[in-house]
Protein backbone atom coordinates (compact mmCIF):
# COMPACT_ATOMS: atom_id res chain seq x y z
CA UNK A 1 0.00 0.00 0.00
CA UNK A 2 1.05 3.58 -0.35
CA UNK A 3 -0.58 6.23 1.79
CA UNK A 4 -2.04 9.14 -0.10
CA UNK A 5 -1.62 12.80 0.75
CA UNK A 6 -1.44 13.14 4.51
CA UNK A 7 -3.44 16.21 5.42
CA UNK A 8 -6.52 17.41 3.62
CA UNK A 9 -8.41 20.46 4.78
CA UNK A 10 -9.88 19.60 8.16
CA UNK A 11 -13.60 18.91 7.82
CA UNK A 12 -16.26 20.54 10.00
CA UNK A 13 -16.14 17.76 12.58
CA UNK A 14 -12.38 17.38 12.34
CA UNK A 15 -11.80 18.02 16.02
CA UNK A 16 -14.89 16.27 17.30
CA UNK A 17 -15.09 12.99 19.21
CA UNK A 18 -15.30 9.62 17.46
CA UNK A 19 -18.95 8.53 16.97
CA UNK A 20 -19.44 5.34 18.98
CA UNK A 21 -20.35 3.03 16.08
CA UNK A 22 -17.43 4.37 14.07
CA UNK A 23 -15.10 3.72 17.02
CA UNK A 24 -16.37 0.17 17.44
CA UNK A 25 -15.78 -0.57 13.78
CA UNK A 26 -12.22 0.74 14.00
CA UNK A 27 -11.50 -1.45 17.02
CA UNK A 28 -12.99 -4.51 15.32
CA UNK A 29 -10.99 -3.92 12.12
CA UNK A 30 -7.82 -3.41 14.16
CA UNK A 31 -8.37 -6.74 15.93
CA UNK A 32 -9.00 -8.49 12.59
CA UNK A 33 -5.83 -7.08 11.07
CA UNK A 34 -3.93 -8.14 14.19
CA UNK A 35 -5.22 -11.71 13.89
CA UNK A 36 -4.27 -11.91 10.21
CA UNK A 37 -0.76 -10.60 10.85
CA UNK A 38 -0.44 -12.94 13.82
CA UNK A 39 -0.94 -15.85 11.45
CA UNK A 40 1.69 -14.36 9.22
CA UNK A 41 4.00 -13.94 12.23
CA UNK A 42 3.70 -17.70 12.66
CA UNK A 43 5.27 -18.21 9.25
CA UNK A 44 7.94 -15.61 9.97
CA UNK A 45 8.94 -17.44 13.15
CA UNK A 46 9.14 -20.76 11.35
CA UNK A 47 11.03 -19.39 8.34
CA UNK A 48 13.51 -17.48 10.50
CA UNK A 49 14.43 -20.62 12.44
CA UNK A 50 14.61 -22.62 9.20
CA UNK A 51 17.05 -19.95 7.93
CA UNK A 52 19.41 -20.59 10.83
CA UNK A 53 18.44 -18.02 13.48
CA UNK A 54 17.58 -19.25 16.96
CA UNK A 55 14.18 -18.52 18.54
CA UNK A 56 15.61 -15.69 20.71
CA UNK A 57 17.16 -13.89 17.72
CA UNK A 58 13.90 -14.38 15.86
CA UNK A 59 11.91 -12.86 18.72
CA UNK A 60 14.26 -9.88 19.05
CA UNK A 61 13.61 -9.13 15.37
CA UNK A 62 9.84 -9.16 15.84
CA UNK A 63 10.08 -6.97 18.95
CA UNK A 64 12.78 -4.59 17.80
CA UNK A 65 12.67 -4.43 14.01
CA UNK A 66 8.90 -4.97 13.81
CA UNK A 67 8.47 -4.51 10.08
CA UNK A 68 7.63 -7.72 8.24
CA UNK A 69 9.30 -7.28 4.85
CA UNK A 70 12.60 -6.20 6.41
CA UNK A 71 12.50 -9.11 8.86
CA UNK A 72 11.87 -11.64 6.10
CA UNK A 73 14.64 -10.06 4.01
CA UNK A 74 17.16 -10.13 6.84
CA UNK A 75 16.64 -13.82 7.60
CA UNK A 76 16.34 -14.68 3.90
CA UNK A 77 19.69 -13.12 3.00
CA UNK A 78 21.40 -14.58 6.09
CA UNK A 79 19.95 -18.01 5.33
CA UNK A 80 21.22 -17.84 1.76
CA UNK A 81 24.74 -17.17 3.06
CA UNK A 82 24.68 -13.50 2.11
CA UNK A 83 26.49 -12.22 5.18
CA UNK A 84 25.47 -9.69 7.81
CA UNK A 85 26.23 -6.50 5.87
CA UNK A 86 24.10 -7.39 2.84
CA UNK A 87 21.33 -8.66 5.10
CA UNK A 88 21.25 -5.46 7.15
CA UNK A 89 21.41 -3.17 4.11
CA UNK A 90 18.52 -5.00 2.42
CA UNK A 91 16.45 -4.74 5.60
CA UNK A 92 17.19 -1.00 5.89
CA UNK A 93 16.30 -0.31 2.26
CA UNK A 94 12.99 -2.11 2.66
CA UNK A 95 12.33 -0.24 5.90
CA UNK A 96 12.83 3.18 4.31
CA UNK A 97 9.15 3.35 3.40
CA UNK A 98 8.26 3.37 7.11
CA UNK A 99 10.00 6.74 7.35
CA UNK A 100 7.68 8.02 4.66
CA UNK A 101 4.68 6.64 6.55
CA UNK A 102 5.87 8.41 9.69
CA UNK A 103 6.10 11.67 7.76
CA UNK A 104 2.47 11.26 6.66
CA UNK A 105 1.33 10.30 10.16
CA UNK A 106 3.16 13.02 12.03
CA UNK A 107 0.61 15.83 11.45
CA UNK A 108 -2.29 13.42 12.12
CA UNK A 109 -1.04 11.88 15.37
CA UNK A 110 0.57 15.02 16.84
CA UNK A 111 2.74 12.99 19.23
CA UNK A 112 5.54 14.36 21.39
CA UNK A 113 8.09 12.98 23.84
CA UNK A 114 7.84 9.29 24.82
CA UNK A 115 4.61 8.94 22.84
CA UNK A 116 6.58 9.73 19.72
CA UNK A 117 9.08 6.96 20.49
CA UNK A 118 6.20 4.47 20.81
CA UNK A 119 4.41 5.76 17.72
CA UNK A 120 7.62 5.33 15.69
CA UNK A 121 7.88 1.67 16.64
CA UNK A 122 4.25 1.02 15.65
CA UNK A 123 4.61 2.77 12.26
CA UNK A 124 4.10 -0.03 9.73
CA UNK A 125 2.02 -0.74 6.61
CA UNK A 126 -1.10 -1.77 8.54
CA UNK A 127 -1.27 0.99 11.16
CA UNK A 128 -0.54 3.66 8.55
CA UNK A 129 -3.20 2.37 6.19
CA UNK A 130 -5.78 2.31 8.98
CA UNK A 131 -4.92 5.81 10.26
CA UNK A 132 -4.92 7.41 6.82
CA UNK A 133 -8.06 5.45 5.94
CA UNK A 134 -10.01 7.12 8.78
CA UNK A 135 -8.99 10.77 8.36
CA UNK A 136 -11.92 12.44 10.17
CA UNK A 137 -12.33 13.18 12.94
CA UNK A 138 -8.65 13.32 13.86
CA UNK A 139 -9.43 11.30 16.99
CA UNK A 140 -10.61 8.42 14.75
CA UNK A 141 -7.32 8.45 12.86
CA UNK A 142 -5.43 8.33 16.13
CA UNK A 143 -7.55 5.50 17.48
CA UNK A 144 -7.11 3.58 14.21
CA UNK A 145 -3.34 4.00 14.38
CA UNK A 146 -2.86 3.00 18.01
CA UNK A 147 -5.36 0.13 18.08
CA UNK A 148 -4.03 -1.38 14.85
CA UNK A 149 -0.38 -0.86 15.77
CA UNK A 150 -0.80 -2.42 19.22
CA UNK A 151 -2.92 -5.34 18.07
CA UNK A 152 -0.46 -6.17 15.28
CA UNK A 153 2.52 -5.77 17.62
CA UNK A 154 1.12 -8.17 20.23
CA UNK A 155 -0.20 -10.80 17.83
CA UNK A 156 2.78 -10.61 15.46
CA UNK A 157 5.06 -11.35 18.40
CA UNK A 158 2.91 -14.19 19.74
CA UNK A 159 2.79 -15.66 16.22
CA UNK A 160 6.56 -15.35 15.91
CA UNK A 161 7.13 -17.13 19.21
CA UNK A 162 4.85 -20.05 18.35
CA UNK A 163 6.25 -20.38 14.82
CA UNK A 164 9.88 -20.23 15.97
CA UNK A 165 9.43 -22.79 18.75
CA UNK A 166 7.46 -25.03 16.40
CA UNK A 167 10.13 -24.96 13.70
CA UNK A 168 12.90 -25.43 16.26
CA UNK A 169 11.25 -28.74 17.20
CA UNK A 170 11.51 -30.01 13.61
CA UNK A 171 14.68 -31.79 12.47
CA UNK A 172 14.87 -30.86 8.79
CA UNK A 173 12.70 -27.91 7.73
CA UNK A 174 13.62 -28.59 4.07
CA UNK A 175 11.51 -31.73 3.96
CA UNK A 176 8.51 -29.62 5.00
CA UNK A 177 9.04 -27.30 2.06
CA UNK A 178 9.87 -24.31 4.25
CA UNK A 179 12.49 -23.27 1.70
CA UNK A 180 9.63 -22.82 -0.78
CA UNK A 181 7.65 -20.90 1.82
CA UNK A 182 10.31 -18.17 1.87
CA UNK A 183 9.93 -16.94 -1.75
CA UNK A 184 6.16 -17.44 -1.44
CA UNK A 185 6.18 -15.08 1.54
CA UNK A 186 8.08 -12.43 -0.41
CA UNK A 187 5.69 -12.90 -3.31
CA UNK A 188 2.68 -12.34 -1.03
CA UNK A 189 4.29 -9.10 0.19
CA UNK A 190 5.02 -8.01 -3.39
CA UNK A 191 1.63 -8.90 -4.86
CA UNK A 192 -0.49 -6.00 -3.55
CA UNK A 193 2.16 -3.52 -4.73
CA UNK A 194 1.88 -4.60 -8.38
CA UNK A 195 -0.82 -2.04 -9.09
CA UNK A 196 0.18 -0.79 -12.54
CA UNK A 197 2.49 -1.43 -15.49
CA UNK A 198 5.31 0.62 -13.99
CA UNK A 199 5.36 -1.57 -10.90
CA UNK A 200 5.29 -4.77 -12.98
CA UNK A 201 8.17 -3.46 -15.10
CA UNK A 202 10.22 -2.54 -12.02
CA UNK A 203 9.49 -5.96 -10.49
CA UNK A 204 10.53 -7.78 -13.67
CA UNK A 205 13.71 -5.72 -13.97
CA UNK A 206 14.57 -6.24 -10.31
CA UNK A 207 14.16 -10.01 -10.56
CA UNK A 208 16.16 -10.17 -13.80
CA UNK A 209 19.06 -8.12 -12.44
CA UNK A 210 19.21 -10.27 -9.31
CA UNK A 211 19.20 -13.56 -11.26
CA UNK A 212 21.80 -12.42 -13.81
CA UNK A 213 24.13 -11.31 -11.01
CA UNK A 214 23.62 -14.39 -8.81
CA UNK A 215 26.44 -16.46 -10.41
CA UNK A 216 28.94 -13.58 -10.28
CA UNK A 217 28.30 -11.83 -6.95
CA UNK A 218 28.30 -13.09 -3.36
CA UNK A 219 24.84 -14.11 -2.09
CA UNK A 220 22.94 -11.07 -0.84
CA UNK A 221 24.57 -8.59 -3.21
CA UNK A 222 22.33 -9.39 -6.23
CA UNK A 223 19.28 -8.33 -4.22
CA UNK A 224 20.96 -5.06 -3.23
CA UNK A 225 21.87 -4.49 -6.88
CA UNK A 226 18.18 -4.81 -7.71
CA UNK A 227 17.64 -1.80 -5.45
CA UNK A 228 19.53 0.21 -8.07
CA UNK A 229 16.74 -0.69 -10.50
CA UNK A 230 14.36 1.30 -8.32
CA UNK A 231 16.69 4.30 -8.41
CA UNK A 232 17.08 4.04 -12.20
CA UNK A 233 13.33 3.67 -12.70
CA UNK A 234 12.66 6.68 -10.49
CA UNK A 235 15.15 8.74 -12.51
CA UNK A 236 13.58 7.68 -15.82
CA UNK A 237 10.05 8.47 -14.61
CA UNK A 238 11.25 11.85 -13.31
CA UNK A 239 12.75 12.76 -16.69
CA UNK A 240 9.60 11.76 -18.55
CA UNK A 241 7.23 13.81 -16.46
Amino acid sequence: MSPSAPTGEPGPDHHGPVPRAHGRRITRDAAGIGLATGAYGLSFGAISVASGLDPLQTQVLSLGMFTGASQFALVGVLGAGGGAVAAVLTAWLLGARNGLYALSLSPVLRVTGPQRLAAAQLTIDESTAMALGHPTPAAAARRAFWSTGLSVFVLWNIGTLVGALGAAAIDDPGTLGLDAAIPAGFLALLWPRLVDRTMWAVAAAGATVALVLTPVLRPGLPVLAAGLVALAASWIIGRRS
Binding site: S43, G52, Q57, V60, G64, M65, F66, S70, A73, L74, L78, A80, G81, A84, A87, V88, A91, L93, L94, G95, A96, R97, G99, L100, L103, V111, A120, Q121, T123, T175, G177, L178, D179, A180, P183, A184, G185, L187, A188, L190, R193, L194, V202, A203, A204, A205, G206, A207, V209, A210, L211, T214, P215, P222, V223, A226, A230, A233, S234, G238
Partner: protein
Protein backbone atom coordinates in the same frame (compact mmCIF):
# COMPACT_ATOMS: atom_id res chain seq x y z
CA UNK B 1 27.49 -12.42 13.31
CA UNK B 2 23.77 -13.17 13.30
CA UNK B 3 23.34 -11.14 16.50
CA UNK B 4 25.15 -8.22 14.89
CA UNK B 5 22.79 -8.30 11.95
CA UNK B 6 19.73 -8.62 14.20
CA UNK B 7 20.71 -5.65 16.37
CA UNK B 8 22.06 -3.36 13.64
CA UNK B 9 19.10 -4.18 11.42
CA UNK B 10 16.59 -3.48 14.19
CA UNK B 11 18.21 -0.20 15.28
CA UNK B 12 18.39 1.07 11.71
CA UNK B 13 14.78 0.19 10.93
CA UNK B 14 13.66 1.95 14.12
CA UNK B 15 15.69 5.07 13.33
CA UNK B 16 14.09 5.21 9.87
CA UNK B 17 10.65 5.26 11.48
CA UNK B 18 11.66 7.86 14.07
CA UNK B 19 13.27 10.19 11.51
CA UNK B 20 9.89 10.47 9.79
CA UNK B 21 8.39 11.93 12.96
CA UNK B 22 11.26 14.37 13.41
CA UNK B 23 11.55 15.75 9.87
CA UNK B 24 9.28 18.56 8.67
CA UNK B 25 6.33 17.32 6.60
CA UNK B 26 7.53 19.40 3.65
CA UNK B 27 9.95 16.56 2.84
CA UNK B 28 6.89 14.67 1.59
CA UNK B 29 6.39 17.28 -1.10
CA UNK B 30 9.56 16.12 -2.80
CA UNK B 31 8.14 13.85 -5.46
CA UNK B 32 11.42 12.00 -6.03
CA UNK B 33 11.55 10.83 -2.40
CA UNK B 34 7.97 9.54 -2.51
CA UNK B 35 8.64 7.79 -5.80
CA UNK B 36 11.85 6.05 -4.72
CA UNK B 37 10.41 4.79 -1.45
CA UNK B 38 7.45 3.39 -3.41
CA UNK B 39 9.62 1.68 -6.02
CA UNK B 40 12.30 0.26 -3.69
CA UNK B 41 10.12 -2.42 -2.05
CA UNK B 42 8.90 -3.59 -5.46
CA UNK B 43 12.40 -4.02 -6.90
CA UNK B 44 13.81 -5.60 -3.72
CA UNK B 45 10.90 -7.96 -3.03
CA UNK B 46 10.81 -9.25 -6.61
CA UNK B 47 14.58 -9.77 -6.48
CA UNK B 48 14.12 -11.71 -3.24
CA UNK B 49 11.38 -13.85 -4.80
CA UNK B 50 13.64 -14.65 -7.77
CA UNK B 51 16.77 -15.39 -5.76
CA UNK B 52 15.01 -17.45 -3.09
CA UNK B 53 13.27 -19.48 -5.81
CA UNK B 54 16.21 -20.21 -8.10
CA UNK B 55 19.49 -19.64 -6.26
CA UNK B 56 21.43 -22.37 -4.49
CA UNK B 57 24.46 -20.47 -3.28
CA UNK B 58 25.75 -18.89 -6.50
CA UNK B 59 24.20 -21.46 -8.83
CA UNK B 60 20.77 -21.18 -10.40
CA UNK B 61 18.69 -24.36 -10.14
CA UNK B 62 15.14 -25.44 -10.82
CA UNK B 63 13.75 -27.56 -8.00
CA UNK B 64 10.62 -28.06 -5.90
CA UNK B 65 10.75 -24.44 -4.74
CA UNK B 66 9.62 -23.27 -8.19
CA UNK B 67 6.54 -25.49 -8.06
CA UNK B 68 5.83 -24.13 -4.57
CA UNK B 69 6.04 -20.52 -5.80
CA UNK B 70 3.81 -21.26 -8.81
CA UNK B 71 1.25 -22.76 -6.43
CA UNK B 72 1.55 -19.59 -4.36
CA UNK B 73 0.75 -17.51 -7.46
CA UNK B 74 -2.46 -19.51 -7.90
CA UNK B 75 -3.34 -18.93 -4.24
CA UNK B 76 -2.71 -15.19 -4.61
CA UNK B 77 -4.86 -14.97 -7.74
CA UNK B 78 -7.61 -16.67 -5.71
CA UNK B 79 -7.10 -13.96 -3.03
CA UNK B 80 -5.96 -16.39 -0.35
CA UNK B 81 -4.64 -14.85 2.91
CA UNK B 82 -0.92 -14.69 3.60
CA UNK B 83 -0.65 -17.81 5.75
CA UNK B 84 -2.52 -19.91 3.18
CA UNK B 85 -0.23 -18.68 0.38
CA UNK B 86 2.84 -19.67 2.36
CA UNK B 87 1.38 -23.03 3.40
CA UNK B 88 0.34 -23.90 -0.16
CA UNK B 89 3.91 -23.28 -1.32
CA UNK B 90 5.43 -25.35 1.46
CA UNK B 91 3.02 -28.27 1.05
CA UNK B 92 3.45 -28.32 -2.74
CA UNK B 93 7.23 -28.47 -2.45
CA UNK B 94 7.12 -31.06 0.32
CA UNK B 95 4.73 -33.31 -1.64
CA UNK B 96 6.87 -33.16 -4.79
CA UNK B 97 9.95 -34.10 -2.78
CA UNK B 98 8.33 -36.91 -0.84
CA UNK B 99 7.00 -38.45 -4.06
CA UNK B 100 10.42 -38.09 -5.69
CA UNK B 101 9.06 -35.86 -8.48
CA UNK B 102 11.42 -32.99 -7.70
CA UNK B 103 14.61 -32.28 -5.79
Amino acid sequence: MIWMAVIAGSLGCYVEKLIGFLLPASVLERVSIRRITGLLPVALLSALVAVQTFADGQTLVIDARLAGVLAAVVALVLRAPFLVVVLVAAITAALLRSTGLAA
